[in-house]
């Protein structure tokens, strides 16, 4: 069974903390993505990567960075967490078709207090 696994389901962090969200996929996919999902806003793309050590900004990259040192792992970093970064974070991966037929992880519900 193919999988995209996010390291945490729920996370509570304090304002100003550096936060790491980890994502691992076992499908040997080239493309990986980080989204955030907020009520009424849909999924918004933060960053994506189409190859190891490659990264591209999405629509809302401010306050975030990413790392892709290995093909199967894509990390999202909140440099200094703020309350407006409280959200559901979703990792996804796909093969050569870009965002098409993406496989999503179970999500990480991050609360910044």
């Amino acid at each position: 069974d193919v999988k995209v696994t996010q390291s945490s389901r729920y996370l509570v962090k304090r304002t100003g903390e550096k936060v790491f969200l980890e994502c691992v996929q076992d499908m040997d996919h080239e493309n990986m993505f980080w989204y955030r999902q907020d009520p009424g806003l849909g999924l918004r793309l933060i960053y994506f990567s189409y190859d190891v050590k490659m990264k591209e900004k999405g629509d809302i990259p401010e306050g975030y960075s990413v790392s892709r040192e290995k093909k199967e792992r894509f990390s999202l970093i909140l440099e200094s967490a703020s309350t407006n970064q409280t959200s559901m974070y979703l990792c996804a991966s796909s093969s050569l078709g870009g965002h098409l037929s993406a496989f999503f992880g179970q999500g990480t519900r991050l609360t910044v207090v």
């Binding site: 995209v4 009424g40 849909g42 918004r44 870009g98 965002h99 496989f103 999500g107």
Partner: protein
């Protein structure tokens, strides 16, 4: 600006009926349109993809239509079941697939 609209109001239907969900878009010329299912507290699950030159696509009880003139996609679930209750998201992608916009989703409730 590019915009996707899905009915924000929940759709309530009786078991066995056909559920029809709508996705409208403006200021966009997508090459692909996708539908995903999302259960509460879970990540979306890919259901169907339809290309701009395809009018209709089916998969088991699911049917998607794509009208590029009306700028609209309809998503049908026939013989609906309570297990079909979920939020359904549409997503539009331009050629190459790297620019994808997701709608906010429509919540479907199927009553037994």
């Amino acid at each position: 600006s590019q915009k996707i609209e899905q009915n924000s109001e929940a759709l309530n239907i009786q078991e066995g009926k056909t559920a029809t969900l709508t996705c409208n878009y403006t200021n966009y010329s997508p090459a692909y349109l996708q539908w995903y299912r999302q259960d509460p507290g879970r990540g979306p699950v890919f259901l169907l993809l339809i290309r701009e030159n395809e009018k209709e696509k089916r998969k088991e009880r699911l049917k998607v239509t794509f009208d590029t003139t009306l700028k609209q996609s309809l998503f049908h679930i026939t013989a609906s079941q309570p297990a079909d209750s979920a939020t359904y998201l549409c997503a539009l992608s331009i050629t190459g697939g790297f620019k994808t916009i997701f709608g906010a989703g429509t919540r479907l409730f199927v009553k037994a």
